[in-house]
Each structure stands twice: as structure tokens, then as C-alpha cells.
Subunit: 561 residues, 2 copies
Amino acid sequence: MMVTTQAGKIAKLKIIPLGGFGNYGKNMLVYECEGKILIVDCGIMFPEEEMLGIDFVIPDIRYLEENKDRILGIIFTHGHEDHIGGAPYIWPKLRVPMYATNLTAGLIEVKFKEFGIENVPISRFNPGDSLKIGPFEIESFKVTHSIPDSVGFAIHTPLGLIIHATDFKFDYTPIAGQATDMGKLALYGQKGVLALLSDSTNIEVPGYTASEMTLAATFDQIFRDAKGRIIVTSFASLINRIQQVLNSAHKYQRKVAVSGRSMENNIEIASRLGYLKIPEGTLVDLRNINRLPDNEVVILCTGSQGEEYSALVRMASGEHRQIKIKKGDSVVISASPIPGNEGAIHDVVNNLFREGATVIHGKKVDIHVSGHAGADELKLMISLTKPKFFIPLHGEYRHLVQHAQLAQKLGMPAEHTMVVEDGNIIEFYSADEAEISKSRVPSGYVLIDGLGVGDVGNIVLRDRQAMAKDGIFVVILTVDHRTGQIVTSPDIISRGFVYMRAAEDLIHGARAEIKKMFVAHNHKYPMNWEYVKKALRDEMGEYLYEKTQRRPMVIPVIIEV
Amino acid sequence: MMVTTQAGKIAKLKIIPLGGFGNYGKNMLVYECEGKILIVDCGIMFPEEEMLGIDFVIPDIRYLEENKDRILGIIFTHGHEDHIGGAPYIWPKLRVPMYATNLTAGLIEVKFKEFGIENVPISRFNPGDSLKIGPFEIESFKVTHSIPDSVGFAIHTPLGLIIHATDFKFDYTPIAGQATDMGKLALYGQKGVLALLSDSTNIEVPGYTASEMTLAATFDQIFRDAKGRIIVTSFASLINRIQQVLNSAHKYQRKVAVSGRSMENNIEIASRLGYLKIPEGTLVDLRNINRLPDNEVVILCTGSQGEEYSALVRMASGEHRQIKIKKGDSVVISASPIPGNEGAIHDVVNNLFREGATVIHGKKVDIHVSGHAGADELKLMISLTKPKFFIPLHGEYRHLVQHAQLAQKLGMPAEHTMVVEDGNIIEFYSADEAEISKSRVPSGYVLIDGLGVGDVGNIVLRDRQAMAKDGIFVVILTVDHRTGQIVTSPDIISRGFVYMRAAEDLIHGARAEIKKMFVAHNHKYPMNWEYVKKALRDEMGEYLYEKTQRRPMVIPVIIEV
């Protein structure tokens, strides 16, 4: 099963990123050893700006489908969307065993249920447990992240130990008690680490990420001072943050109601599995919340990213069934914007202010800490594990390069820091020799739009982009199938180009022009409709551009009757 | 000319914002006194995210057009696009005198020339000069901003003094020597100020904005350490920043070439008018730059916002004719992202890293300072001028509210802090009494798309948004005009919905379905095409949604032959 490379060397270990290298989200990585494949994570990402109308993006798994019989399973680091969200799309095509910690497994199961898939084989393990999957001996180690039950993996291979560390931070006072296992990491470093793969998300953030604990004082202060209702929004998966809100509410004798399906689901799972401690009598039904005095009310809700239809967005626009924003409300946005969401969040904040609420958001008050390690923590990770090779993961290209440069500053030789993107193949020939292969596996973005997975590609997207910019201009010509002459006046259907009712002159002129163009070209190549249509498209496009300096998509249609 | 309000009181002074209150950009404000109108600024803004295909946005000036004979003129605070960019569109409709400082006037003239408008009447004044325009006695006062020759206005009215302060910061060591005139402001405060209008841009930024001077050390360090070429991008209007780059280049014996039209234009005007001192022999032609050794080269270019076709974007994508990015290049992005541009800027940075450059960007290194006052400077402005009324300007709604709250924290009564949005009318009845009128003037966004000014409205935008999301699906039915029966098989034209070649089954099924629907509805109301088309649109929409969970815009077309 070993593959001979172009250099004639034999790769004893391969690392193949399929997602999260050169982009955020859709995290997925392949380890390949003795002909067997181990997959880590299976994430989903939000579409980029230019991917108009797309719901989600998942990794391209053609390489896995072609090598299905060699796959041993998928192990998950934690339960965030960008690590588990692709599973319900991808697992049915692979049907391999899955391995996850309790909370992560619970969240995966909910996803599968939403897709109508029952009885998926997920083996549960506890953070710190060891697993043997084919040739891979895997030790999990605890890490702190913004969701409980997060782990990293120490993977023993014949060539040495690989540390897979994502996502993590070093938090000495995490709310829910799980600190990153520095002892284990240091021990690995002592024994010798072949390669470290480490989270590049916050490489551009200097210093250390603050502890979740630092927020407790802020929440207490807000809860102590607020005279009216308190409305808190955060990521639904940020269980520790939800715990803090519950704690402060309990302390200041407030009841908490929850609004937003993902928030409700996650609270249910996390409390059922013991990751969230709900003080008795604190949680109340949203429908009963208006009966309580304002200063006894907390509403925990979705919408921290300004998502359409989320609870907070509906409140801000006056469309929430139970909650109307009013003067005296304090709204706390306990999250940072995911790049691209800034505009939507600002709209929500503006609307909340318009309705009379006080909004606590942004960086003026400490109401959010990141779940990812800052640059100095990343140095700590490298210094503890002392890897021979360093592979930055999870980030856009600039993050990966800067993370590699950081490792070089710590003394690693540049040729041992490997910046790779999705589809690259890192080949290890021995414990001392590795290189990035010149060949690649299929990679890239598989777009999900409604029920379609992968059917929307560049052509459909380009059409959407063109119509988004300048609209469409359809010209319908009905011609006699014997004579090739126009039967009726051309019909023009246009949307998103000009306001038709106010553009009668333009349309009138265009119609006359089309007839002339048609006659001329039909004369040149009689009834060669492909030729005539192309000529009409080009010339009508120029005509409209000259009149408007807009370039609608021009589509001539010729109907023979 | 005085207007009786609903309360029967007579407004002796009115302040009417037409742009920049509740939004950024397109700044424009009307002062009205003794029946005369004075306009301050005339800006342009970039379209918001949902304004697909729109080039720019300018203020709605219907109120001004209706009251043209009462307008005395437009005075400008400074030469940024969001304060002068609307002039070439709006001035031709008003044809009133304009007043501006030298650099601002120069920049306005360039704009008008680009529009083919010559000989516009701009009266020039120096910062600190006084002007008498009808009943308005206006003293200009120097302010520091990120473009030279910026001023604020102290406007004497029969009811008292109004301070119009935007955009400004308090910089005790500005590069080009113009500090905000604190002495004058304090003096006004001593004499008594009726109302202060002050810039809310950075209300969410605590503390003081750093001085432009603080960047000199960073630039010197970068220029000292760089072994290869240095490529600096910034806002073309940031003349002081350009001065710093020229200074550091001169100090470290490098030549500077300029790439990007707006950068070239602004350097030409600013140096001609004496606002930019170019050390002799420093500036060289871009075409000769490749003959110099890399460590003697600086390239100053446009593209700090990741603008399509800008010099830096073309360099990053390998499409710049003269400059190819290579290993050893240091690229400095000396600007902060305008909200909404983050994605485009990150793409550029990633591409530059891919080409081997080192990119200095973001907040890790001090390479940019804002031109707007931080929260503590805003307190200073209020404390110096001690106004009776406070009107926050220039910001989204949340900025205005928070700025008003800041004034209240300084002791101003809430009813004297007036949060207004574009189209509101503030009426002063006496030196002690003012209120926000219940009536409004027309306001809002006038969209510019190609040659069209204001012709693209909500209908066109909604169509663009719909097609951007799920595409379009045009169904063409040719029917016999006597019998009402279908003559040929329905034609389907679709773009941006599904990839047609891979969706033959769907299209085939849809075509069969359309025939059935047509027959049924044509049977119900024979040849009532409006009814049939509506029914087809609804039912075909549902059919396609059920098959794809996408909602393309469905357009049935019936052609009688």
C-alpha cells in the first residue's frame, strides 16, 4: 500500500489536509499510515462573500470516496460546527466508525437526527483516554476551548509521535474545570515529538488570551446594576458562557428564559450530560417571562452574529412573538463578530438602540474572550512539545505563514516548518525527512444550496454574481420557421437592470435596435440561430452599456413557430 | 419665511441633516435662518452590503431643490469623499456658490473636471478666516484630521453660536503642523455656545487617538530593517501619511514611485498647493523603478481597502504591469479597514503572503492612526465649548446615542442632547428652547449605478437580491392566439438556479408540469393570461422549491402567435 514518490522514496506517513488549511471552517485532515486512513474532524463552513445564495460549504472528499476501504474512522476534537457540521453530509458516503467525547457525540447525534439518520456508530471516550484504531495508537489529551469536552490527540505512528492540537487555549481558570493538559504535553516533548499541528486562528493576536473567569466580574456588575431586563446573546455552543449567565442570574435572583432553537437544544444536551449546572428554579419558560418584574428577568438568546431569523434579530426588528424590546432593557452581546458578519451585527445594535435598549457590545467592556490561543500561548505549545516538524493548521494562508514564522523565531529550521493548503500531501520518509509532495489530492469547496450538495459550481455562481450586479435582459424573438422572419414584436423581460416602468424610452429603443440587428444578422447567415443569438447578445450588451453603463446579462431567445 | 410649527411656535433657526446622521458618508447638513439656507458639505458614500451592483450613494436633495432660491451656498469642512464626493452630482442641480479651503477646493475642482464641468464658483478661504454669507457670520477654525486644510465652523446666528465640528481629532504633534485650535474653541465656550455638533465616528473607541507623529518611529524602523523593496499602501487622501513615507524614504536613501491614479492625483495637487513637501530627487517614475536595486525602492500605492483594480490588488494577483511581488518585498498596509472591506483586504494579504512578501498589517504594529477623536477627546470638545444643546453627527444610530449619553455623563440634561437622523428637523424657538419637529423633509439614499442617478430603487434591488440568492427561471409558452392552446413545447431559460446540463431531469419534469398547470388554469379561465401567469408563477415556484429547496425568480411569459 505504500506509494513510491517521484523521488523514488517511500512515504511511510502522509498528512493530507482536506479543509481548514488556507481557510476557516470545514476542518478535515487525513493521516495515512501502513495503507490505513484516519480522519480527524469533519466540519462545515459559512459561505464566503462571493458565494451568493450558498448555505454552507463542506470539504471535497473525492479522495476519501476513492479510498473508502482503507478508512478506519473519524475522530473528533470537539463539537463546534466547523469540526462536526459536515458529518451528516459526508458520513453517509463513507459509513465508517466515529469516535468522540460525550458532549461532542451528543451534538453529532442531534445533527444526524435532524437529517433523519438514526443509529450512527459513535464510540464515546473520555478526555484523556487512549484509543487503538488500526495502526494508530491515539492518546487524547484535555484542552480548554469555548466548548466543554474538547481534546487534542497524540497519535503514535511508526515514525514518531504527532500532536494534533486544535482548537485550544491555555486557560488556568476555565469555568468548567478542564484546563489544557500541560503535563502531558510536556511529557510528550520530553519523549520526542515528530510533528506538531497547531491552531493558527489567533496568530495575529499578540500575548495571551484572557481566561473565561475574567468575565465573571463583568457579568456580576452588569447583573447588579441593571434596573430592567437583561438580554444576553452568545454562541449557542459556548456552554461555559451560558454557565456564567446562569450563575450571575442565580446570584442576583433573576430567572432565565431561553429563546432560539440551537440555544435551547444545546442547553438541553449539555445539562443532560452534566456539562451545564442549572441552579434549581432558575430556568423558566419563555412564555411566562412577561409575568415577572423586569428586574427579575434574564433572556438568553441566539443572534450574536446578527443571523437572519435569530431570536435577537427578531427582537430588534419588533418581530419576536414574546419579547418586545423596551427602554430599560440591557442587551449584552457576549461574542465577537465572525469576519463578514459585522454589518449584520451593527444593524441589530442600531435597531436595539432605536427601541430604547442599552447595548453592551464591542471591546469597551470585557464581555467576551476568545477560545483560541494568542501568539504567546502558541509559543508555549511549541516550547512544551518541541516538535521536529511544525505544521500550522486552521487559518487563512497568512495565518499559516505567520505561525510558521513564529516557530522559526523559536529556533525551528525553516525547512521543518511546513505551510500547506487543502489538497497538499505531506510525506514523511523517515523520522528526519519529510517534504510536501508535488502531487495533490482533489480539494476545494463543495457548496450546499438547499437540497443540492455540490451541484452549484462556478458557472451558476458567476451567473448569480452577474445578475446581482446588473440584472438580466431577456429578448424573445418569435420567428416563422419557414421564412425565418420575425412574427411578432420582440418581447423583453428584464429584472434588476432598470426600473422598467420608468425606462420606457430605453426599452422602446432597444426593441427597435433588436429588430435591426436581427434583420442584419439573419440576412448574413439566414436562420443560423446560434450565430444570430451570439451577435444579438454581444451587440445588445454594448447598446445597453452605452446607454446605461450597466452590463445586464443579455439572453436572446429565438422561438420558431 | 419663518414657519409656524404644529405647536404654534415660530422656529428662528432650523438644523436639518440630509446625510451622515444614522449612517456614514454622504455627509450633508442644512442650517436655516431668516429664511436663508446654508449647506455644510456634500458627500458620497459607498453602498451598503445589500445594495447590489450600486456604485455610490448620495443624499436625497428634494428639499433643497424645492427651496433652491433660498440657498446661499455650500461650505466644505475638508476634502474627503464623504464630504465633497456628492458635489459633482448635486451642484449642477443647485448651482450655488461654494466655499472651501485651498486643498479642499483643489480636490473639488478635480472631481468636477472628471465630470466635464468647468468653471465652478469656489471661493477659497484659509483655515481661521471668517466669512459672511447672508445672515450667517462664519468663523472657520483649524482642526487636525487625516487630510490637511481641514476646518470646523463657528456659525453666528441670531440665537447664538453654533459649533460645527467634523471631522477632527486633537493631535498635539500633527505631521503637517495644523493642530485643532483649542484656544478658539475655549474662547467660544467662554462666550457661550448655543449648540455643538460633533463627530461621533470613534465614540466606541475609548481614550485618545494617537498622534500621527507616533508612526514616524515605526516607519523609520521598517525602512531601516527592510532588505528588499518596500511597498506602502494607504488612503490616497492621507497626505500626512504620504509625507511620512517620503520623509523615511529620503532618510534611508530610497526612491519613491507612485502607482494608482487617485494617489498620483492627490500627490500632484497636494505638492502643487504646498501641502506635501517632496524631498528633491525622491520621486521617480514607476516605469524606471525596476532598474534600481531593491533596497533603494519604495512604492506608494492605492489598494489599502482591497479595491478591485487598485494597484496593490493587481500586484497581489500578479496582474500589475510594472510590479511583480517577490520574496523579500515588505508590504505595509497603513490604513484600517472600512467596515465591509475586511474580506477583500484579507484576500489581498493572503495573496501577498503566497507570493512571498512579508505583510505588515493589522494592529500588531503601529502603522496607522485614526483621523477621528476618541471618546476622551470628544469629552474634551464638549468641555471646551460648553454648549447649551448637543447634536451628535456623523455615525450610525448607535454612535449618535452613545455620543449623546457621553454628553449627559458630562452633566448635560438629556433633553438638551438631540439624537436625530437624516430628514429630521431641529427647530430652535429661542436661545433656550429647541425641539425635534414631528415633520420631516425627504431624506434617504439616492443610488448611483452607472449613468443612472436615483433610478435604481427598492424594486430593482429586490430583484437583484432574489436573483443573487437563487437565480431566475423564465418559462416561455407560445400559444395560438385563436385557440389559446400551446403551440410548441415550453422553453425554459434559467440562470443562477441549477447547473442546467446536470439538471436535465429537473428541467424535463418542470416542462411536463408546466404543460399540466397551463392546461388546468387555461381551462378554468380561458385565455385570461394575467391569471394564468400568476398561477404558473406560484405553482412552478412551489414545484421547484419542493424539488430543490431553492426559490428562483419564476417568470412565465406567454406569447400569442
